[in-house]
Symmetry: C2
Subunit: 357 residues, 2 copies
DNA sequence: ATGAAAGCGCTAACAA
DNA sequence: TTGTTAGCGCTTTCAT
């Protein structure tokens, strides 16, 4: 019949704290803290004892307390525009995971309706309220936003920006190589007339992907046919329009490489409406491997860009430079991660066609 | 030339704290706290002064500190399986917003690969590590998961469960009414042969939607044709198969009502492949209004289920019952929110058809 | 209506 | 290698 020791006037929950563990393991709370955080300077025997107590009590550290104490509670913003399809979902999932892992506080915001002036104002306000910012395209290429943020000394990481901009850190794949590989894959299947649907012109990644396509053709000794290159905008709608045009050509392509999955999905739709079989009559490839790629029939061959883990990494990078903030060295890194060619069902060798005339 | 008062050995950032505001506003930190939290007992003049200081300093409260002090730092889990399309994205966005608003700590997890035994184990572990759980379908109908969680006394809220289960709270729309309205919309347009694609049989919402369809037909005096009712599974793929069957009927439907947007999108795809124009030759309606609805052409008429704000509400409900945990009264609520019929381009009156024979 | 004191659970710095 | 002390920024309780 032991009395509950009321340590204080307050104390709400009966949650297990570091002190409980410390008592059971017969060490100081500090040692428990060290064990939990993987600090090396703890004797193995001690560590074992602590872990045992942790397990027995089902102890889970209070993130709020630890961030507060460690002054590590960084507020990180993820600002997006154009919530294009599965892209945002991946982004969120990754950022969330990173935030949970590091006890960072994630602030998500949408700046869809902002003009340049409003963007500047918003960026300035943002700079005052967060310790770091994650910028997916197309925001990661907004001069005013970056300028405001950088001037305010807020570390920024651009996700999937297409290229490294030395002002801010970036996490990206090599869009050029990836795109080249896609084209080469199509080439290897025997395609000669490969159309390309460009992405939104305001994004560098679009350019890089186009360059990859060009490079592959050049390597293969195939001249680029301007009629086969169409300007898209990463939207499903723009895919619809451009593919219409492509398939109305007197000499239509046997394969279409769209700069993202949404436009590739649109290509399938148009092909079907015209009575074409995919991939028999027309091969189609996308880019990104978002959920759109597997929500169409046939499923899209595409390039996997690991958005989620890229967002996760972005948080690490941000946190590193936030904590180093005392030093005067500005840390800007360019983190290039591996992409992966995903072969599904939207690509096949071209069938021999009756030639006109 | 005043000296910086180094309050302590530590102190990392130069973040603005409640004390800074208090000094500027010439009040105690406590009053600032009250103003920030909207407590009523503050004189208007005082409140004004504080707000002024807050604005001038750009003060933003430290969530970690406030949750710690208020002992309000609840860890809330959102467990999902079947990351079906835009659904998860909405869910995340809403939950995130709610978590940020309330300083709850969100834990996201995927239980896709778990069998019943593993689910039970996972649920038990979960019960020990979080203060509340949000369960979207189909998990919100898992007997073992709910049982473990409820037995452990962890408050749970089911999102979009289709009906209220008195063991746990729920946030949902009225699937029956919504579905009835969809069918009535189709009926009003003049359709008589309306096919229905059921959702996954393991989800009550599927049943409710089917019942709404039946009720509308009955009210209109139209007998239900079993051939027009197909079993789907909420996946794009299942939509493909069922619509194939539907359109191969000797007397095909003039309209298809799919239990979610993914299957409706599949319907469009199949229609196009068969050379049918949507909506001229075939009207199609979806359900949920996820991103899939606007990532197809023509854009889908559908029912908007406000998943994001439902997730947001779920956090409130959870928090309320977590804080009330001291009391012995268990709080279980059924929160039904409004849905909305969204008319876009996939529905039109049926064209007169040549009758056979 | 406002303030003072105390402490939420944890960890950085320093000491031993 | 381990413990002690002080305090992160905020809100509770209690006093005024």
């Amino acid at each position: 019949m032991k009395n509950t020791v009321r340590k204080s006037v307050r104390r709400k929950g009966a949650a297990i704290t570091i002190d409980d563990v410390a008592v059971l393991a017969k060490v100081s709370p500090m040692t428990v803290s060290r064990v939990m955080n993987g600090h090396s300077k703890v004797r193995d025997a001690t560590r074992e004892r602590v872990m045992e107590a942790v397990r027995e009590l089902g102890y889970i550290p209070n993130l709020a307390a630890s961030s507060l104490a460690a002054a590590q509670d960084a507020r990180i913003a993820l600002i997006y525009t154009n919530p294009s399809g599965g892209y945002l979902r991946e982004l969120l999932l990754g950022a969330l995971r990173g935030a949970a892992r590091t006890a960072a506080q994630l602030v998500i915001d949408n700046w869809d309706e902002l003009d340049v002036g409003a963007e500047r104002v918003a960026a300035r306000a943002l700079a005052n309220s967060v310790a770091g910012v994650i910028l997916p395209p197309p925001l990661c290429e907004s001069k005013v936003v970056i300028e405001e943020l950088v001037n305010a000394g807020v570390p920024v990481v651009a996700i999937a920006a297409g290229r490294f901009n030395h002002d801010i850190s970036s996490v990206r794949i090599d869009d050029f190589i990836a795109s080249k590989e896609v084209t080469e894959h199509l080439l290897r299947m025997g395609h000669k007339r490969i159309a390309f649907i460009k992405g939104h012109p305001n994004q560098t990644a679009s350019t890089r992907r186009y360059e990859g396509y060009q490079a592959a053709l050049k390597d293969a000794g195939i001249p680029l046919d301007p009629a086969l290159v169409q300007q898209g905008y990463f939207t499903y709608r723009s895919g619809l329009d451009t593919v219409e045009r492509l398939l109305s050509l007197r000499q239509p392509p046997t394969a279409i490489f769209a700069s993202n999955d949404d436009m590739a999905a649109a290509a399938i739709s148009v092909a079907h409406r015209r009575g074409l079989d995919v991939p028999r009559d027309l091969s189609i490839m996308g880019f990104d491997d978002t959920s759109a790629a597997t929500t169409v029939w046939p499923e899209l061959s595409t390039v996997r860009q690991p958005i989620a883990s890229m967002a996760d990494s972005a948080i690490d990078i941000l946190l590193r430079s936030i904590r180093r903030k005392d030093n005067d060295t500005k840390v800007v890194v360019d983190h290039v991660v591996a992409h992966q060619l995903i072969k599904r069902d939207s690509v096949a060798p071209p069938v021999a066609r009756k030639t006109r005339g």
